[in-house]
Symmetry: none
Subunit: 200 residues, 4 copies
């Protein structure tokens, strides 16, 4: 790797990290490209060498960060001794929500303007060298399960929407309840949905 390629990676990383810090600490609308480059220690023009605009860098951050989020949750899952898909899904849900509760700004970044399309893209994009493709993992989970579900992808979509939306409200606004009180209820609702989708 030449000295230039090294430098290139450094600048790109610096921009991504700085953007993340600023977006999460003061919000994306309140962050200007000027702010980013100043803090990253690069020239303004350099930004446009790597990104189209502010929203380009945001999308890349969302993909990267949400991927990491799932990766960690999955790692933890492997350490547990859980046997039903229901239990596994609920474990990951709780784990991710608790992680986000500790990083509410990360949540803000990820949640706002997060579409299902972007989410799926994020889930199948390997930002790092990791071998994890989460959609694939989840799919496998359902395949290996004894209990079968009608339309599992759509069911997952509904669960994700409910959990993320309610979780966001709870973590950011403490409304209608703080996360600790909400979690058991969410578990309750998730189980309700999954039972309904179960093929008996």
């Amino acid at each position: 790797m030449g000295k230039w390629d090294e430098n290139k990676k450094l600048k790109l990383d610096s921009l991504l990290n700085t953007s993340f810090e600023l977006f999460t600490s003061q919000g994306i609308n309140q962050t200007s490209i000027s702010d980013i480059v100043k803090k990253a220690g690069v020239a303004k023009g350099t930004f446009y060498l790597y990104f189209k605009d502010k929203y380009d860098i945001r999308n890349r951050l969302i993909a990267r960060k949400s991927n990491q989020l799932f990766a960690i949750a999955y790692e933890e899952l492997l350490k547990e001794d859980l046997h039903t898909v229901e239990d596994k899904i609920i474990f990951m849900m709780k784990h991710i929500l608790m992680h986000l509760a500790e990083n509410p700004m990360l949540l803000s970044l990820i949640y706002k303007d997060l579409s299902w399309a972007l989410f799926k893209e994020a889930m199948t994009t390997n930002t790092d060298d990791s071998e994890t493709d989460f959609l694939q993992i989840i799919t496998k989970m359902f395949e290996e399960s004894d209990v079968k579900y009608r339309n599992p992808e759509l069911m997952m979509f509904l669960i994700v929407e409910m959990v993320s939306s309610a979780g966001y409200s709870s973590i950011v606004y403490k409304q209608p309840q703080p996360l600790d009180d909400l979690l058991p209820e969410l578990e309750y609702a998730v189980r309700g949905i999954m039972k309904e989708y179960e093929i008996k």
Copy 2:
């Protein structure tokens, strides 16, 4: 009501209506206060006599519009002959989503930055002279029901989050499915949640 007060109401209404038109037709970020006052036919300074800023007027619009949305759905509900709370909730859900599908820009306006707190405020604010306080109505619905639910308000919160979030994705992005295909699935999931919360 004096002529002055009348005039005041006229200006205020003109500003609200114009804002709504512009926000829904070209987006809130693409709408400047200049645009609003020009179209409303009032002076720039006048805007600041009635509203703090663009986001102040937006919040008032959200309250007003979502209230109307529920009011219409409720009116329609009364014409139907439905007896279980489950059926009533699902009827309103479908009605509102279909209404929003025809006004996706209204959906965009309402959904973005809509918090539970703001939602509750909207539901209890009578913008018009109507007597309807929806939270009260829903509460009554549950009270009169033979089937009882554990923690009905929280259950409703989860349902609303799931329905609005998934509905938004479906209507705006057609992801993962268009609304027509999603509705039966949503009904399915809602029934699953409600059954789980049922007290037997």
Copy 3:
């Protein structure tokens, strides 16, 4: 006239005068809007209250200045005792060129990107309260003349193009000759054209 209208006229005049000074002293491409407003003592936004962009203000300046140029030449013409159109045209040509020789930067401003359409517009636009419409004056001149010309407007177009183009080269670049040496030759050529167009 209210205090505001007074102020408005003042700002507009200040912007026009400042632009003219800067355009002629350092060129239009080298003049930024920032330069103009700084020198004019108004805020940047104010510029856009009166003009669309730099080229809008330039066009208005061209119209205004070329009109003045002709007006002065015509005034001087009236003091002379010239009887043929040929002599009158040549008198005005010389007068204008000599005037421009003393203000070569004005020439640069007017000449660059000056189209016949813009020229005609300038000639019929009364920037001041003056009653002079030059196209009309020239037309009248030809009508009153004993000597008649075939297609006088087109002949004038050709003369104007030749005189302005050659005059520009001579005044700005001293090429192929300084103005003093060029003028008799131009007179010569103009008379040649006019004789050819004469109806005998």
Copy 4:
């Protein structure tokens, strides 16, 4: 010629051709050096090995292209059987204008900022291996003519200015007339000038 020199000539040609294409298709101000090198397939730094800046390359293009223009017109002239200088001049004028009418962008490139000095330089610069020095050819034309002219170079200057200036207006703006209608008038005017300069 070594392989290196060959390569050098290739790059230079590529830059010149690309610049010409871009300048004529989208205008010189709308063309950046980035555009040029990208299309030419060379590195940015390479540009500066051959040219000082955008205007350097433009001047070289003007010289090259206007030379070619005259060369073609002259070639065509040799095929005709014309005997008077007047006829020859008019033939070339028409030929060049019609050629330009088919390439108005070339006209824009050549005309803007074209000075008599640059024109003379272009006329005496042999860009290709051709032996043609047009000023010399024109001079010879006058020498061999039976009809003699007072100050032929200056007469030519006036004619060129008039023809190019009026031609530009006609071709680019169709003002005051399209080229087809203007050509006979120009011929008329040119003959008028030449007759006036004739030594009887």
